[in-house]
Structure formats: C-alpha cells, structure tokens
C-alpha cells in the first residue's frame, strides 16, 4: 500500500507540474477578442465616403483638421 501511494503521489506531482506548464502556453488575458473591434463599421479613421464629404466642408466652413486628413493647404479652400 505504502509503495503504491508513494508512486501515485509522484505521478500526481508530475501531472500538476506539466499541466501548469501547459496552461502557460495560452495567450495572455490582456489581448481582447477582436471580432467586434475589427468589424468594418468599427473603424476609427475616416471612411472613403466621409473623405469625399469632407472636401466640400473644407470650402464651406472656416475650420479644418483633426480628422486624420489635412488641416489646410493643397487647395484654394479654408
């Protein structure tokens, strides 16, 4: 009985050690699942349509910039 218990304890210890090393191979929890973030509608930059509309706003309004595009120059606009 004693000999059997001793062998089972060593096996259990080895199992626990290798399981711990196994789990450490997974991706860290700081990386978010990006299925929502990578959606085309979730872009943080101006889309092509918005760039086209910004063109007339540069002429018809006095302000420009902070859109990811230019803040002035390149045209006879404001």
């Amino acid at each position: 009985m004693k000999q059997s218990f001793g062998m089972n304890f060593v096996q259990a210890l080895v199992y626990i050690l290798f399981t711990t090393l196994l789990l450490s191979s997974c991706a860290g929890s700081g990386i978010f699942n990006r299925s929502y973030l990578d959606d085309a509608d979730m872009t943080l930059s101006m889309r092509k349509m918005e760039k086209s509309e910004m063109s007339f706003q540069l002429y018809r309004e006095g302000s420009a910039g902070a859109t990811g595009g230019k803040s002035g120059g390149g045209c006879g606009c404001n």
Binding site: M7, V10, Q11, V14, Y15, F18, L21, L22, L23, S25, G28, G30, I31, F32, N33, R34, S35, Y36, L37, D39, A40, D41, M42, T43, L44, K48, M49, K51, S52, E53, S55, F56, Y59, R60, E61, G62, S63, A64, G65, A66, T67, G68, K70, S71, G72, G73, G74, C75, G76, N78
Partner: protein, 403 residues
Amino acid sequence: MVRITITLLGLLLSLLHGFGQQFSIDSTKLYEKRTLTLEEANIVTSLYHQTGVHSAVTGGIGSEKLTDFANVIDLKLSKTVSPGIKHSYIAEMGVDYYSSASSDQIDYRVSSASSQDVRFYPSVQFKRENGLTGKTIGGNLAFSKEYDYTSFGFGGQFVKLSASKNTEWGIRTNVFLDSYLKFLPTEFRTGLPGRQDRKGQAGSSARNTFDVSIHLAQVLSKRMHVAITSDISYQQGFLSTPFHRVYLSDGSLKLETLPGQRLKLPVSLRGAFFVGEKVVLRPYYRYYMDSWGILSHTFQMEMPIKVSNSFSLAPFYRGYVQKGTKYFAPYKETEASASFFTSDYDLSTFQSHFFGLGIRHTPFKHLLSMFSISEVELRSGYYMRSDGMNAWIVTLHVQFRQL
C-alpha cells in the same frame, strides 16, 4: 519504472502539443507572397450641388450656385519583404469637374451662365509596417492643379502599435507649398499690361502650410475603442481669395484682405461602440480655434445597423456651430478704417446641419477569377446652413480586393 517512463513520455508529448501554437511552423508564412501584388482598389465618385445667396465674389450677395462632380480612384499594392515586414504603396488620382455661377461674375464683361474648371490631384504614399515591433513608417507626395491654384505637398508618418494591439499612437506631418495665380475682378484690371488686362492676371503669390498631427487610440473593451487626435497647422503667405469683392460702408469697393499668417488648433475625439449584435455607434466631436478668431464645435453621429450579413444601413447626422472671424462683415458693413476684411460667409458666424443615409453591401462577388467586389456603398446627405446656403451630395464607393 516502465509505467513512469511511459507516463513521462506521454506528458512530454502533451507539453509539446500545448506549446504548438508558439513553436510549430506557421505554414501560412511559408506561402506569404514576396511579389508586389494589387491588394485593393477603390473608386469613389460623388455629385455635389449647392445653392445660396451670399456669394463672396460679388461682395456677400449673389448666387452661390455650384455643382461639383468628383472622382477618385486609389490602388493599394503590397509586398512582404521578410517575415513580419510589409511594404505598401498607395497611388491615388482624383479629378473634379465643377461649374460655378459666382466664378462667372469675376469678370462682368464675359457673359455666360457659369464658369467651369477641372481640378486634378494625384498622390502617392509608401508605408513600411513591421508586424514584429508594431512600428509603421511612411511618406507621401501630393500634387494638385486647377486653373488658378497649384499645390505641391509632401509628408511623413510614424505609428506604434502596442504588443497587445490595444494601444496605438502616431505622429504625421505634412507640408504644402502652394501657388495662387491671382485673377482680379473686372473693376481692378485697369493698369495691367495688355495681355494680363484681358485675362485679369496679376501675377502669383505663395501660400505655404505646415501640419503636425498626433493621435492616440485605445481599446477600452472588446466592444469599444476611442481615439483622440490633435493637430497644429500653420499657414503663411497669400491667404486671401484674389477675386473676392468687399463693399465698404462708405460705398467704396476693395479686394478681400486677410492676414498673411494663420495658426489652427483643432482637437477631436472619435469613438466606435458595438451595441448588441447588430448596431454600431460612431460618435465624433471636434473643437477648433484659430488665430483669426474662428471657434467651432463639430458633433457627428453615425449609426450603422446590420440588416443582414451583407447589408447595413447607416443613418448619420452632423451638427456644426461656428463663431466667425473678427474680419468678417456683410455687404456694405465693413468699416473703411479696417485693415483686414472679408465678406465671405464661409468665415462668418453660422450653424449647419448635415444628415443622410448610407447603404452598404458586401457582396464578395468574384470578377475574372482574380478580384472580388468586396464593398459597394451609396450615401446621400443634405446640408443646411443658417445663412440660407443649402447643398446635397450623393457618393458611391466600390471596393475591389484580390482573391
């Protein structure tokens, strides 16, 4: 002993399997294309039409009727030069055709319904993306030409993406070296040399612009991320419009005269939030101030709704409030003692509303076994300004991707 050995061997094999995602050969990397390939192409075409009664060409009164037909095509080519290193080249060409009732009033002697012009504006951009370090560097060249305005532009950018891909920051600079060919209104063409008198040209002047933009984007959760952008823009040179008339309170007529320097400071906050499984909210806010005294607030909200896997509807609204420049005065309200003055309502105090609807379809329809139509989008909007200027715009975008 045999049992221990077999057990240890089994555990060792399990361990290797567990770390397989890190050390196994990624077969996709063996097949990354090392040749320059066309990754994506976009065609954007838009039709814009406006009406109004405060044309700056005629001193703040008169028709502002204008129609613009704009077309832009861009091609993105990319090449993987080594594992994790990707080079991208983007070539863009834009052509605008516009007709304007007010431009025809620059020279009263020439009688026609409107004046037309074409503007074309090519540009090229290069980016080097290092997927291992998260760093991207790039540069761009731009050119723009219309009848009276020529522009040369260049710039560069640096972007750093964190290892977790949750944080990105970047800096971008642009320089525009422009030249404005001065066409004068009829009343100011006397005294010019013969040929210039007929066309009304009075030489050209430089207008230079220097932009620096920084941005920081941060993922807040698996359903939302935000970005803040701040620009500094400095312009110097000839910043007036040479054919804009200004009627003074004493009845005299002068050309628009604005300072030769302008510092612009816009800052914006943009977000994207996935609500439920079918709705996205994209709010945007910008605060703007400049050295001419213009202050503005811009608020925009777009709400894409996924009707099906390949269709989405996106209503949007943009509200804009502007406090005008101290140099603005309406028709015949500019004091004769003023040093700088304009009657351009684009620089006045006003509010505007812009709203509409976009429809997007992602068909992924194959073409010639080489490309797919990955996106088709149609968007229409109506613009209303408190001084009576109104406009509508319709835009079509088609995107092609290589299979």
